[in-house]
Structures are given as C-alpha cells and as structure tokens.
C-alpha cells in the first residue's frame, strides 16, 4: 500500500473539482486533485453542450435576484434558498471570471450573447458556439489548474473510501487504476466533487463515471444527503437511430427554435391530449412532455424503440440548414436527414437535484468534509432550471475549495496501517459470506448493473407508484443479497475493469436504495417526483427529506426548508 500526504484532497476533476482546486491553491497549501478518469474529461462538465445561466444582463436588463426568483419558482417550495441565492449571485462573478480566463463565450459587439431557456424570465443563458460549452469550459479550467504548482493532478485515481474518526476526516483510500495498487492518503480536508448518479437509470445522458460515487462516499463517511428522490428527466433525449458523437440531449433547442413536433407510434400528435400545446413555444413543461411520452408508450402507442417521434419534416430545408449549422453534417454522418425522417426520442435521466447536505461553506456535518457541484443537494429544490448546473459547479466549487483550504484541525497522524484496515473493511464483509458462483452469466458485474438500471428505469423513473417503489426496494435488496454479495472481482492488478465495475456497483446499489426509499416516503407529486397514484402536491410535504446511514441501514427524516428570512427578502426586493 502506497502512502501520500496532502493538505486538501479533491475528489473529481469536473467543473466543480477543478474550480475548487484553483480556489484552494490560493492558500499556498498542497492540493491533490484526483479523478478516476482523466482530469477534466470523465464527467458531465465536458459533455454539456448547451447553456450556462447567469444574470450578467448583457442581452437585456437582468439582476441575480430575478434569477433567484426563477430558480425558487422552479424548485417548487424545496429550494434551500440560502444556497440558491449564493448560486445566482455568484454565478455572475464566475461567468465573468471564466471570461477573464479566456473562455470564448458567444458574443455580439463585445457583449455576451444570452438566450432564453425554459423557466427563465429573461434571456440569461450564455453559451459557446456551436454546442461547445462543455469542452470550452473544461479546457479553460484545465489550463488554470495547470498554472498552480501546488495542485498535484492525479488521473486514474479512484477514491473508494473516506477515513473518518470521531466525525473528523482523517484521510482517504484510493485505487491507482493503472497499477492496481491501493493508496492511503493522509489529509484533513476532503472536497467531494465527484458528480451525479444518472447512470443508475437505463435511459440516461451519463458518462461511465456518473454512478453516484459522491453520495455513497458521503453516506459511508457519516454525512447526510437531502432530497434524493428528485431526479430530473430530460423529456426528449435521443433514442434512435443510433447517433454517435452527439450529446443525447441535443434536440431541445432545435425543437423550440423550429417547432419540432412530437408524434406517437401512430404518427399522431398527442401532447394536446395531456393538456399541453405542442409547437413553436415554450408552453409544454418538461414534466408534462416526459409524462405524456411515457403514458403513450404504456398505452402501446410508443415509437418502435419505446419512445416518441420527433419530426422536423414540415420545416423547409433552408431553415433547417441555417438553424443546425455544422450539426447538419454530423447528422448526415449518422444517416439522419431531418427533411425525410423523424427521429425517436424518450425521457432520459439527466441531472440529480438531491445530494450531499451542506451549509453555505459547503461543509457537511463531518468535520473536514466538503462537497461541490452536482454532488450537492438543495440549491435547485424539486426541479432544476436549465442552465443552472454548470454555474452550480463553478460557484460551489470555488467556495468548497476556499473553505476547505481554510479549514484546519489538529488530528492524529494517519498511518499506512489505518489505510490497510479501512481497505480490508471495504473488501472483507464480502469475503466472509461469499459463495462465489463462477461462469454464471447472470452474475457478471455488467449484468448486475444492467439489472439495476432496468429496475430504476421501470419502477423509479418518470412515473412512480407506491407499488412500483416497494417493488424496486425488494428487487434492489435481492440484487444485493443474491447477486452482488456473491461476486468478487478477480485479483489481477493492472487496469482491472472488473474491479472498477465492482467498486462502481457497490456505490450505485447504495445510491439506488437511497433514491427509492426517499421516493417511497414522499407521498405526493412535486416537481420531478411524480406519483401516478398520488397526483397532488401536499403542503405537509413542503419539507426536505434527509437521509443518513447508521450501522449499514439507511434512515430518513423530514426537515423544514431553509427559506431566506423575511428581512433579507425585503433587502433583496430593494436591490431590484
């Protein structure tokens, strides 16, 4: 077992982790920035192709308090308003800072171009052309990180456990994927910036590394999570034909710009039957579109692959070409000609509103444990405004890095043997009650993950019922007891894919249970949590649900929502 020492460990190098490392580096302390993939490439940040919301007011008059109003409205009573105000106020500074760092935001006459997006009251969303926002911001941050000699970057370092003693962070253990050796990391302060969990649903926009590590690491370290039932489903994710080289959520802006029409398997318009209006406007909410598509599929009126058709066939060719720009060529490479054929779309799991519970310093209840980015819960309540996730990564990343580097404690020294004993806990529980079943196709790591994704999609997806949720809890328990606990990864060392899968599964199974249990407890419909058998929103549930792990069991409780107090609201009003 190797041994490393650092002042601050940052887990995950997406937008949040990189921003955190840059902020932490200002303190002059030593920072270790670890990613199980490659720095800046493994998560959602690099994949984002759309927009970033910030009230810079370049396109039309705006103020961050308006952005806050929109965010709170979209969150449907559950926003931690303190976190939401930090998000909206500091988004402006971060976007301008990124501009200083040479992010090539689309501009007109030296002012940033901003567009409208669903739920925003003004044109507020910045972008980098063409569909290049994620790669561009990743490049900027990667460059800034590299300027700091006190940031040690580690690609291929998978953090598997945080070592906590008496509610104080002592360090962590990681797997060096390339060599297969385990590493003990001695550190006071840890920032969890390991992203979201949407990979646990079979239809998703996730990368390989978005199976919920941040939440599982936090739970096992003793931190609390909130609102885990709120998973955002993006209504018209790409489903078929196979489209490679494009982010599956790419259709949205074109649909609105050009009036793309949704059709069911019988080629009939159906959104109207669910109380929405289809066509050239923002009138159909994302929730309604998702709901309508799933119901059509359930009724046997889905498209061949189980979604809906999105058609641009009525749009003149010239209009299509000018709206899509270079994207038309990419579509042609995929044999997609929008003038002749419709494509199939479906709701897909896209973002997680729930997450690690933190205060305004991004601190959890465990001393020395901080969180940032999508891993954090609360700022977006029951539904996130589009464009709010990237600013969240920047703003919370910056704060977490700053406060983590300021944090100090006097702690006992961590030794390699502490690492060895923490690691043996990860692996042994398994070894004890293990009856290894070899060569059984059902008990492959990949097939357990597939089963889990199907359970989550079918029973904990866009439309839930009490029955589907109890069913899912049973099925997940069965996966744990009868499958997961019966496999162990082989002992090979160098780049052991099965070991990586096993570590992913261990976290994803825990996250799935947390999502299901929280969803089961919320006996109402609100925002992204839609219960078919309880289609009403209830005031008694205008509460945050907190979940923690105790002795291996998940426990939940309800807490009052952190609303900004009246006096502050008045002050904000005056500012407008």
């Amino acid at each position: 077992m190797k041994f490393l020492k650092t002042d601050v460990l940052i887990i995950g190098a997406g937008g949040a982790g990189m921003y955190a490392s840059i902020a932490a580096a200002q303190s002059g302390k030593n920072i270790l920035l670890a990613d199980k993939s490659l720095i800046s490439r493994g998560g959602a940040t690099v994949m984002a192709q759309m927009t970033v919301a910030a009230a810079v007011g370049h396109e039309e008059p705006d103020h961050w308090t308006h952005h806050l109003d929109d965010t709170i409205k979209s969150g449907q009573g559950l926003c931690n308003e303190e976190l939401s105000s930090i998000l909206c106020e500091e988004a402006v500074d971060r976007i301008l800072e990124m501009s200083d760092w040479k992010t090539d935001w689309a501009r007109k006459d030296n002012r940033m171009s901003q567009v409208m997006a669903p739920g925003h009251s003004v044109k507020r969303c910045c972008y980098v052309d063409f569909l290049n926002t994620g790669p561009a911001i990743s490049r900027t941050l990667r460059g800034e990180v590299a300027k700091h000699s006190n940031i040690k970057r580690a690609s291929g370092l998978n953090i598997i456990e945080i070592i906590v003693d008496n509610n104080i962070v002592k360090g962590a253990i990681g797997l060096d994927i390339e060599t297969g050796s385990y590493i003990t990391i001695d550190t006071n302060a840890v920032v969890l910036a390991a992203g979201g969990l949407t990979r646990i649903f079979s239809r998703n926009s996730a990368s390989l590394n978005m199976g919920g590590d941040a939440y599982a690491l936090a739970l096992r370290a003793g931190a609390e999570l909130i609102d885990m039932e709120f998973v955002q489903f993006f209504p018209i994710g790409h489903l078929a034909p196979r489209l490679v080289g494009m982010d599956p959520i790419m259709w949205d802006p074109f649909r609105y710009k050009l009036g793309g029409i949704l059709l069911n398997g019988n080629r009939e318009q159906f959104i109207e039957n669910y109380g929405g209006a289809d066509g050239k406007s923002y009138t159909v909410s994302r929730d309604l579109a998702s709901y309508a598509i799933i119901k059509e599929v359930e009724a046997g009126r889905g498209s061949p692959n189980g979604g809906a058709w999105l058609s641009f066939e009525h749009v003149p060719k010239v209009e299509l070409e000018s709206a899509f720009g270079p994207i038309i060529k990419k579509l042609a490479e995929n044999n997609i000609d929008l003038t002749k054929n419709a494509v199939e779309v479906s709701p897909i799991a896209h973002y997680h509103m729930g997450g690690i519970k933190v205060n305004t310093k991004m601190q959890t209840r465990i001393h020395g444990l901080f969180a940032a980015g999508e891993a954090v819960g609360g700022a977006n309540g029951a539904n996130r405004l589009s464009g709010n996730a990237i600013p969240e990564a920047f703003v919370f990343g910056k704060r977490a890095g700053q406060y983590a580097s300021e944090y100090t404690c006097t702690k006992t020294i961590l030794t390699t043997s502490d690492g060895v004993s923490a690691l043996s806990k990860v692996l042994t529980k398994h070894k004890i009650d293990n009856i290894l079943i070899k060569d059984n196709n059902d008990i492959r790591m990949t097939s357990i993950m597939k089963k889990l994704q199907d359970i989550m999609w079918n029973d904990v997806g866009v439309i839930r019922t009490r029955k589907s949720l109890t069913n899912a809890l049973d099925l997940i328990n069965n996966l744990n007891v009868n499958y997961f606990s019966k496999i162990l990864p082989p002992d090979i060392t160098v780049y052991n894919k099965q070991l990586m899968d096993w570590l992913d599964l261990r976290n994803s199974l825990l996250c799935a249970e947390a999502v299901c249990l929280s969803a089961y407890n919320r006996k109402e419909s609100r925002g992204a949590h839609q219960m078919e058998d309880i289609p009403i929103t209830l005031t008694e549930f205008e509460k945050n649900q907190v979940i923690e792990m105790n002795d291996g069991c998940l426990l939940t409780k309800w807490e009052n929502v952190n609303k900004i107090e009246f006096k502050l609201k008045k002050k904000l009003q005056a500012l407008k």
């Binding site: 190797k2 490393l4 993939s37 490659l38 720095i39 490439r41 493994g42 998560g43 690099v46 994949m47 192709q49 994620g134 790669p135 590299a146 970057r153 580690a154 690609s155 291929g156 370092l157 060096d176 390339e178 590493i183 239809r203 926009s205 990368s207 390989l208 590394n209 489903l239 078929a240 034909p241 196979r242 489209l243 490679v244 080289g245 494009m246 982010d247 599956p248 692959n305 995929n334 044999n335 196709n441 492959r444 790591m445 990949t446 097939s447 597939k450 082989p490 090979i492 160098v494 780049y495 052991n496 894919k497 099965q498 899968d501």
Partner: protein, 115 residues
Amino acid sequence: MNIFLDNKNTTTLKVFRGTDSNINDFNFFEVPFNDGASILDALNWIRENIDESLAFRYSCINANACKECMVLVNGKTKYSCTTRLSKETTTIEPLSNKRLIRDLVSDIVPPKEKL
C-alpha cells in the same frame, strides 16, 4: 436503447489481448452487426456477453467529448465511440505509439497527471 435488439447479422472483431506488446495475442469475437452501432458499442457488448475481463478506456459514450477511447482500427487511430462497426472482420489494437497497459488500454495520461 438496446442497440443490438435485432441481431440477425453478425460481424467479427479481432481484438488484441494482454499486457505485453511483444506477444501477439488476439481474440476473435463474433458480435451482432447493427446499422449505426459503434466499435465501442461492440466492445461493451463483448464485456456484457462474452468476456468481462476485456479492458478498454472510455467515458462519455455518446458525446465524443472525453477523447479517451482512441484505439487502432485496422491500423488507423480512431475514436472507438464514433467509428462504425463494419461488416468485414475488423482488427482492434491499442495505440502503437503509447506504452501498453492492458488489452486496448494504453498510457495516454499526461506525465503531469501521474501519481
């Protein structure tokens, strides 16, 4: 989407295996052939259905954003996620100008990002 739902047709991938680039060890895998499927889709299908130990690198799957999935396809450097499966037998090898780690995984980590 299950991209291999309709798999009447198959094709063959000849895939480099092992941790020693001096030993020419290839496995032949018969995989379903579907219009539009990528080499990465087929490699994942192999892991799910034939041999879970096969090692290759990727993150983003669809967006062609992570740039981690480069391999040699019939001797040419390609992204496995955007290269389509072909009806002819296709040879997949790790990058030849990088140190081999295992199977299709080569050392593409920038020197300053190593432990």
